[in-house]
Symmetry: C2
Subunit: 218 residues, 2 copies
């Protein structure tokens, strides 16, 4: 059985969504980011990312981390690619070509989308209003125009990113694209992205993850 | 036979180094970044990243791209993980655990090291002196302190990142760490990183790549 370390309100959400999709038993250890410790103190979160016990597992001091039968991994997207290959059946690659494509989409989203999408999230909704940088939000939205056009083309007429079915590639990319959702303009003229994200979020596994996440301290 | 698209002075260097390590036949198409077209005009570079012929292959308009017997991939690190699995023997993963670790290190370097390392390179040496931002260089070096400490620990007493041997994980991480090489202070108290990078760069395959790269227009 594998263990996912990280609260739901972290990039562990990607791994928890996949775990829920796979329908295999797994364990959850809600490690919280050290800088958010105050949010959880009253609830007694047992570990944070600077706890000695967690640092012994992951010296990077970041969540999520995975322990899969003694194999310790970090990097949320790599964890998902691994879990899908080992436990995910058709959620993972059917062959080396699909493996390449799923890895490509994950790296593409991590490097070309996430740095901008996270600034959209922070500066349109997540930060307190007085700390938001409207100019940075605008530049980040502009920077997402080209990658969103690539994504729209990839999804058009296909529905999913790899192999014509829902896979770990969709989870990895959708969890990053979600950060940009407050920028409605990015989705308005891109019906394939909008429909794909809606379908991803309608999945029972995503819904289970999201419901538990919403119950966590904000 | 596979084809790597991209001039040596691009992230294609990662893929070309690996191709040289693998010792299998491969083809090279020197596609240049569109914004550098002027550097090569006199030499008649046949394609640039906005050429219709290249965009038909890779609509992202970025190098490198790979065509491996009809499978088209982009994202330099994903290309390398794929090539090593399909053609690389012991340069690639021996099992699903090594696959997870190699993917983890690649994502770790792409997200946690490269954004800072590239600013070190630009603002210490690559940009014309008048355009360098000393403050950004300094902040980027500071941001690399934590990941370099993680890398030093991982290499200490092991020599290589995965499986006790030189693999695609070393190529993917070393090509990113190389961008930070002008920041000597990052390497001074980290003997494992310094020795590892020196060993990586002493490899005949790296040397062949580097010699051809040096002969390209700067």
């Amino acid at each position: 059985m594998f263990t996912i370390y990280g609260v739901y309100r972290s990039r562990a959400s990607r791994n928890i969504w996949l775990a829920e999709e796979m329908g295999v038993p797994w364990r959850h250890v809600p490690v919280i980011q050290h800088y958010r410790l105050g949010d959880w103190a009253a609830d007694g979160a047992p570990l944070n990312t600077r706890s000695a016990e967690f640092l012994a597992l992951n010296p990077r001091g970041q969540v999520p981390a995975l322990d899969d039968d003694g194999l310790v991994l970090c990097e949320s997207l790599a964890i998902n690619l691994h879990l899908a290959k080992r436990h995910g059946g058709a959620l993972g690659p059917a062959d080396v070509a699909e493996d390449g494509l799923m890895t490509m989409w994950s790296l593409w989203a991590a490097t070309g989308v996430e740095p901008h999408a996270i600034e959209v999230l922070y500066n349109l909704v997540a930060k307190p209003p007085g700390e938001r940088d409207a100019g940075l939000a605008e530049r980040s939205i502009a920077a997402l125009d080209a990658p969103f056009t690539v994504l729209e083309s990839a999804l058009e007429g296909r529905g999913y990113l790899v192999g014509g079915r829902f896979t770990v590639a969709d989870i990895n990319v959708a969890e990053i694209v979600r950060y940009a959702a407050p920028a409605k303009s990015l989705f308005e003229n891109r019906p394939a992205i909008a429909a794909w994200l809606e379908q991803c979020h309608a999945r029972p596994a995503f819904q289970r993850m999201w419901t538990t996440r919403d119950a966590e301290p904000a």
